[in-house]
């Protein structure tokens, strides 16, 4: 991709990436809380109460990072962890 196109496409890509990653992380984190050693209804409510903070923090991070690539790298570890907890038999 030519540098100039990339330059103007970046805000759009970041926005889409921010919305998608924030949605997925929020979703997975609100399921992953069930792995906590608490009563399920306590864990569920805690997850819901914190969900909006997860969403907001993810979006802020995506725009905080210097480039789209570093934004992706920063989210890699929490994403893998949450996927493992949600689908790896933890819940």
């Amino acid at each position: 991709m030519p540098a100039k196109v990339r330059f103007h496409l970046e805000p759009l890509l970041r926005t889409l990436f921010a919305i998608l990653s924030a949605f997925l992380l929020t979703r997975w984190s609100s399921i992953a809380v069930l792995a906590l050693p608490w009563a399920p209804e306590q864990a569920v409510l805690t997850g819901m109460l914190l969900a909006f903070a997860v969403f907001a923090a993810t979006v802020i991070w995506v725009f905080w990072a210097a480039s789209l690539r570093s934004a992706c790298m920063g989210l890699l570890l929490p994403t893998l962890l949450l996927i493992y907890v949600c689908y790896g038999g933890g819940v």
Partner: protein
């Protein structure tokens, strides 16, 4: 054309702040304004139903049960579900309602005499409360999602706004009264920073109030069945279980005794609502809920404690559970609703909410005044944005005041009166929108703000002419709601005139 992202992190935060702030700002302003009014939900209902007796603190609101129960036995003995809302300082009336196979009904009774009181048909403060999270005319779920998206954008705008200006706390007492952009920036910073804890709190807790709608995944995973989820909700909220009637006649136990039992376990807190399912049946249930607004006894939780009793034996079946996550949820909800607050506390809430409206309004004006200076900016887009600013920031307040006028002017016996008050609000708003499109910008601002001022100034006069609770009478009776409404109208009218005058220089 969207500008490329800045190289510096502060620039990117500023860009995020601008876009999350601007996209839904008109919706947010309307939500904030009606939400602020909702802190006075019951007071507005009192004003909009001047037939109600003046609200006063009752030593024993529970004594009103002796009027409510005979009334319900007489008028609604066939109904399957009764609800009794006991009178309080903020309502003044005993509210009984029922529903069943033969439909539903509702009546207001005088708390002392038990006689029926006819009040005009209006949604009162309830309209603003409903509107601020589910709007009007739209399907409820769609509107709630829309409000949720707007609230999330507001949260992002708040956080990115703070991150943009690190020094903001240090230099906000130096207000530069220049013309144009700089002074809007200072006003915007002032409104935002001063009430920042409130803005963050009200936005986050606003999202929390509808969290089972917005982030249901954990709950769906842990409790796949609808009944399980209802059971969880029933642990926190007073929720009458929907058991069918048994068909066998059995005498209803003494409800006042159950109420006393509940009060004894709530440090003597007053009871606000009593619900009875299947009265006179073997499967009768009685649900007793505490009144909100007793922070000294019940704390600030938005979930008032409740107790569910067997309606025949009087046995305690369930009470509100206290667990860490439930209490955290209750506290966040309570902070949003502000029902724990006494009247100075409510005014404080309203003042901070008004700062929120100011923050949104000045933010939007700042955005347009910046764009106006840029030579390359799209003129058509800017023209439209400026018109929408007028129609929302000045036009919506006009429409809200028009609702209060209609409340006094529409004939009391009119059919669908409550609906027409609300249609009236939206028709006036539409009119303001058309006016804003047709008139030159400065005239639009001046005329609409001036109109809002005139209507506000006229409210005390209208109230004096159409009811017997005008300013002198309410002053003599010490009626805080009516005195406060009149004084606030005049004060806001002066503010509107002030804004209308200042608009020339922008």
């Amino acid at each position: 054309m969207i500008a490329p992202l800045g190289r510096h992190v502060r620039q990117r935060m500023a860009q995020l702040h601008r876009w999350t702030g601007v996209l839904l700002i008109w919706l947010l302003f309307v939500i904030f304004l009606t939400g602020t009014l909702s802190f006075f939900r019951q007071e507005l209902t009192q004003w909009m139903q001047p037939e109600r007796p003046q609200g006063r603190e009752l030593a024993q609101p529970e004594a009103a049960l002796e009027h409510a129960l005979p009334y319900l036995w007489q008028h609604a003995s066939a109904a399957s579900h009764w609800t009794i809302v006991l009178p309080g300082e903020r309502s003044g009336l005993l509210d009984v309602s029922w529903r069943g196979a033969e439909g539903r009904g509702q009546a207001y009774l005088h708390p002392d005499t038990g006689e029926g009181v006819q009040v005009r048909d209006t949604r009162g403060g309830e309209f603003f409360y409903r509107f601020h999270f589910q709007l009007h005319y739209l399907p409820v779920l769609t509107a709630r999602y829309l409000v949720g998206i707007a609230a999330m954008m507001m949260l992002l705008a708040l956080i990115s706004g703070v991150l943009t200006h690190k020094k903001i706390l240090r230099d906000f007492f130096t207000f530069r009264w220049g013309k144009g952009q700089r002074s809007w920036l200072d006003a915007h910073n002032g409104f935002s920073v001063l009430a920042l804890p409130f803005h963050l709190m009200i936005t986050y807790t606003g999202l929390v109030t509808l969290m089972t709608l917005y982030v249901p995944w954990g709950m769906d995973k842990a409790f796949p069945e609808q009944e399980q989820r209802q059971q969880l909700i029933g642990e926190i909220f007073a929720f009458m279980p929907s058991t069918p009637s048994s068909g066998q006649v059995a005498a209803l136990t003494s409800v006042p005794a159950l109420v006393e039992q509940a009060r004894a376990s709530w440090q003597g807190a007053h009871v606000g609502r009593v619900q009875i399912a299947h009265p006179g049946d073997l499967s009768a249930k009685v649900l007793v809920e505490a009144q909100t607004g007793q922070a000294d006894r019940l704390g600030i939780s938005g979930h008032p404690p409740f107790m569910l009793f067997d309606g025949v034996t009087g046995e305690l079946l369930k009470a509100k559970a206290s667990r860490p996550a439930y209490d955290a949820y209750g506290t966040l909800l309570g902070l949003h609703l502000g029902r724990f607050a006494d009247w100075p506390g409510r005014w404080l809430y309203a003042l901070l909410g008004a700062a929120g409206c100011g923050m949104l309004a000045t933010g939007m004006l700042l955005w347009t005044s910046k764009r106006r200076r840029k030579p390359g900016h799209s003129r058509v887009g800017l023209w439209l944005v400026e018109r929408l600013n007028v129609a929302t920031l000045a036009g919506f307040p006009v429409a809200v005041v028009a609702l209060f006028w209609l409340n006094r002017l529409l004939p009391v016996e009119m059919t669908a009166r409550a609906q027409w008050e609300i249609h009236g609000l939206f028709l006036v708003w539409l009119g303001m929108g058309i006016h804003a499109l047709l008139r030159p910008l400065q005239s639009g601002w001046r005329e609409q703000l001036g109109l809002a001022g005139l209507l506000l100034l006229g409210l005390p006069v209208l109230n004096l002419l159409t009811t017997d609770r005008g300013f002198p009478a309410s002053l003599a009776a010490g009626d805080g709601v009516f005195i406060g409404f009149d004084l606030l109208s005049v004060l806001l009218a002066l503010l509107m005139f002030r804004c209308a005058r200042r608009r020339r220089g922008v």
